[in-house]
Symmetry: C2
Subunit: 172 residues, 2 copies
Amino acid sequence: MAKSTKENRKEEILEAGLEVFAEKGYYNATTAQVAEKAAISQPYVFRFFKTKEELFIAALDRAFERILQTFKNVEAKPYQLVAKMIEAYEELSELHPNEIAVQVIGVSVTEKPIQDIAKKGLSQIRRYTLERFKAAGVKDAEREASTFLARGMLCNISYFLDLPELIDGKGK
Amino acid sequence: MAKSTKENRKEEILEAGLEVFAEKGYYNATTAQVAEKAAISQPYVFRFFKTKEELFIAALDRAFERILQTFKNVEAKPYQLVAKMIEAYEELSELHPNEIAVQVIGVSVTEKPIQDIAKKGLSQIRRYTLERFKAAGVKDAEREASTFLARGMLCNISYFLDLPELIDGKGK
DNA sequence: TATTTTTGTAATTGATTAATCACTAAATTT
DNA sequence: AAATTTAGTGATTAATCAATTACAAAAATA
């Protein structure tokens, strides 16, 4: 059985944070709830993250990092690239639903340092997708990339609000 | 010069609320800031809206109501329907930027009564758009409607985050 | 085994803010 | 002009919570 190292503890708290933030949002989540989920005392959270904001940033950053990495791992022949990327996204959102929720939440938080992470995340995804589309010879790559991003965000929202009707069931 | 009737006052507070919420988000907006912008005392806000939540709901509801109405007012021949609707949306977002911001904010607030308004608003827009597209004989109307909604939401986010690069400059 | 470092908690604080209360002045009605 | 309703404010409260402090026990080290 693995011993609870320092990094290990930090990871547990981050994971607890993801859960609580996903459920309650940034402002309604309390550090006490995070602590409880991580099975430690409330003040101990601050030994690993200086502020609640810093903890949320770590969570948001992970969410964006993972989705970008997921896209980078997609291998596909040009003609099936878009389909494969959608597939990768769908897989990820089943595997890490909390990270999806945190993305939605992060976008409308007004604290500057958090907003900056959200901006960076969205920018990177958009940039990477565009490059990939271009390289695959996708027609009208600019538009396809922003539509791809847009539909992805709407999926996230639809998941977060529990409003499945927002997206069309049967894909094109 | 128009006298300040009761309805008039309520309207002023709602307008002030829209401004403050758009700038600070739901949780960071204080009723004192709303009051200041409306040039009244903080407690007086509560004579018109029982709670801060109720004020936000009124603001969010107005935002969704306006966008739906805007779409309903669009007249266009079938082949130019989509273009006209995009045009209408763009006009509206220049005319009422605060309502756009409030839509983004409303989507990730976790208070149930607020979330319900957001769900209703999105649902209605999606439903109406779909009907309209179908009636105009748009091919693959389901998909076009959700793409339309998705791109609209991404526009809102891109506006709220001040991240214009998210959407492709030159429309197709 | 004495000392220091690490891991952890209980108790407290300090700031914030929605909402209420207690009240006054001005209109309006009788 | 007395009585009542309407419009409005200053002061207060009650709750919440992020963050700090002060401490204790266990582990590691000398």
